[in-house]
Amino acid sequence: MAEAGTVDTHGAHDADHGHHEQSFVSKYIFSTDHKIIGMQYMFTGIVMALIGGYMSYAFRMQLAFPGESVPGYGVVSQGEYNALVTNHGTIMIFWVAMPMLIAAFGNYLIPLMIGADDMVFPRINRLSYQIFLISAIILIASFFVPGGGFGGAWTSYPPLSANAEYNLTPYGATFWLVAVALEFVAFLLGGINFITTLMNSRAPGMKMHDIPMVLWMIIIASILFMASVGPLIAGAIMLFMDQVVGTGFFDPDRGGDPVLWQHLFWFFGHPEVYVVLLPAMGIVAEIICTFARKKLFNYKLILYTAFATGIISFFVWAHHQFVAGIDPRMANVFTITTLIISIPIAEMLFLYIATLYGGSIRLTTPMLWALSFIAEFLIGGITGIFLGASGSDIYFHDTYFVLAHFHYTFFPIAIIGFFAGITYWFPKMFGRMMNEALGKIHFWGTIIAFNFIFIPLFILGAAGQHRRIYNFQNFPDLAGMQDLRVIATSALLVMLVFQAIFLFNFVYSLFKGKPAGKNPWKANTLEWTADSPPPHGNWPELPNCYRGPYEYSVPGREDDYWPQDVPPDTAPAE
């Protein structure tokens, strides 16, 4: 059992499990406990987020003050600029968004929320993290090889990416590719545990519609990932062969086709954005229900929209390729499918907003994050329509409008989703409460600054500013809009400074936060019935499930919540 005041940053005591005491190394470094593995993913993700954030600092400073030495970096050369934007994007998607939302929260929550003692295959779980860590190390190593890091954009289109004569980063390009491929393998392995554990290891009595929405979202995301990444792995093998062995899969002089890569990439790339979106929406669902004291509005319909989004996501990919040389007639097909996919997502957002109706809403820090997700993602979603419509995409493609659009989707997903989840589940993970005041200050600083970064970028994009260009003073028609670039960079600096508040709050609360108890939020789902933090094995006796996850404010009951594990004929214990 966890003791109050114990400094236990990873939350695993195995005193109840019948083992002898494990060494630090086997308990924390080589652990097979899903909670530790989840934390390992989370901490790795945080470190990578700092690295990716540092990169954005460097290149935004270059954009605001071209040619000047960036404090803490130096002068950003043309080649370095390309490497910075390439790796910023790659890191944020593959080494921040995916590990934090899917691997960290998925690993931590799935067994706890279904009433299991661990994942079904703990050693495969550990292996998946180890491969993931190796992939992160390989990516970081790519910055230190001769020629430096890969600079061909996160989309890595050949022939640029296939041929060192073109990209001038012979080792960086291959290190990058291998790192990404290994990351894919790590997540495929992780998916094994998610699907089998959720399907098979549920508590007795937990039916499909009793599963918390966040777990459904994580599973659908895993399935989407698994079903879409294969062609890109095939493509990555081919690109690797082009780079290292000298084949010509993508070399037009040798009968190859550069556009094939694009199809393979985006066939995965589009479902991938839903792979990260759905878990974030799942986290938001849990938080809204807890702090509005409300059932999720039409659980089944939300689930259907998630499935619909997932299925349709396989049919929209070429909207990234409207002007890339595909048959122009195909563009019309993809415009139609892309506009279609906006419908279930819009419906999902409406259902979330409807969940607020009739609620008793408390604006705690997690709730602020969850609500801001909806507000900010809405902008991301609607600006996507401009891009999904082929006619307007001719103008907006490869401009900062696209960039602002996907930051208004990815930032809510990866960053807001992470902060929502961590402020909500921190008490469970570490047995202590985070500081509310600091949490709110961090929230407002981050959100306000975020908007001041990207609204100027919408304006710049609409004025014709293109992406991946290191100095807009080279373009007479764009040079005069430098003020907007300075605003965006300044806002980024503000936002980065505010993250110090979060880091301080996090570390401080680990040691000095108020003891949380089992269920500080008075929530229903099963993880709140375990100790905070849960021991190895999670409960001395695994719970049963008697009802759905959102039985809040049930009429006729004294308490406004009804945990899933409480048998029906007794009043809920205090």
């Binding site: 004291r293 122009p328 415009t335 607020l356 109706y357 009739g358 329509i385 006619g391 080279n474 028609d477």
Partner: protein
């Protein structure tokens, strides 16, 4: 009939398009206004729904904020009278999408699926990291002795319908002219064809819109849209001294 419907809808949104985009980027081609109007249409539709959603969002947060002694309601979301708030907007959004799809396809067809009769054809050669432009010269035929080759500067005549042949010598590039609202990837091994008709004299940016390596950011060029007199004068100079200043 579809053309008539398109023209009608476009005329409603054209002024807003002029304001949203045209005010910062000149309307420089025959189809630039079409794209601007489409952008304005989408902006109005999504803006409407966004405002509605935000209004509901903030209203509900305020109206149902936690208050002492007041309990939340138990709502499953399957109640017919409440579900209507989802299903009606759902249907209305589908209608909006139909309009957007129709207008987008019309614009796309005009720019990318058809090739009107050209008055002239030019060749655009993209490479790491510069643009070569081949103008047909006074005989208006490419690949003849009087062709005019320029480096990073394209000269075209106002009011003339051009076909372009876009090629790349090495990696992917993209010929992008914001004032035309035009963009097309250049793919090595292929000749990409398209068209444009400049409508406003002046000198404007050409940008490369596909990451092409270290020099991607210095691959800007200029397009010089000339009146017929200016263009004739420029052409009579021949190939001599045709290197741009950038």
């Amino acid at each position: 009939m579809t053309q008539g419907l398109y023209d009608f809808i476009k005329s409603i949104f054209a002024p807003l398009g002029d304001y949203l985009i045209g005010s910062s980027v000149p309307v420089g081609s025959s189809f630039a206004g079409d794209i601007d109007a489409l952008i304005a249409l989408v902006a109005v539709f999504v803006g409407f729904w966004a405002l509605l959603a935000y209004a509901a969002f903030f209203f509900l947060i305020f109206r149902f904020r936690a208050r002492d002694g007041q309990r939340a309601q138990y709502v499953t979301g399957e109640e017919k009278d409440l579900k209507r708030w989802i299903t009606y907007p759902h249907a209305a959004i589908i209608l909006c999408d139909l309009v957007i799809v129709f207008m987008a396809i019309m614009v796309w067809y005009d720019i990318k699926q058809r090739l009107p009769e050209p008055d002239s054809t030019i060749r655009i050669v993209a490479q790491q990291w510069a643009w070569n432009f081949v103008h047909p010269g006074p005989d208006n035929e490419l690949d003849t002795d009087d062709d005019i080759n320029t480096f990073n500067e394209l000269h075209v005549q106002e009011g003339t319908t051009y076909h372009y042949e876009l090629i790349s010598k090495d990696v992917l590039h993209d010929f992008s002219v914001p004032v035309f609202r035009l963009k097309q990837d250049a793919i090595p091994g292929r000749v990409m064809k398209g068209w444009f008709k400049p409508t406003k004299a002046g000198e404007y940016d050409i940008q490369c819109a596909e990451m092409c390596g270290i020099g991607h950011g210095i691959m800007g060029a200029r397009i010089v849209v000339e009146t017929p007199e200016e263009h004739a004068a420029w052409m009579s100079q021949g190939s001599a001294g045709k290197v741009a200043s950038r």
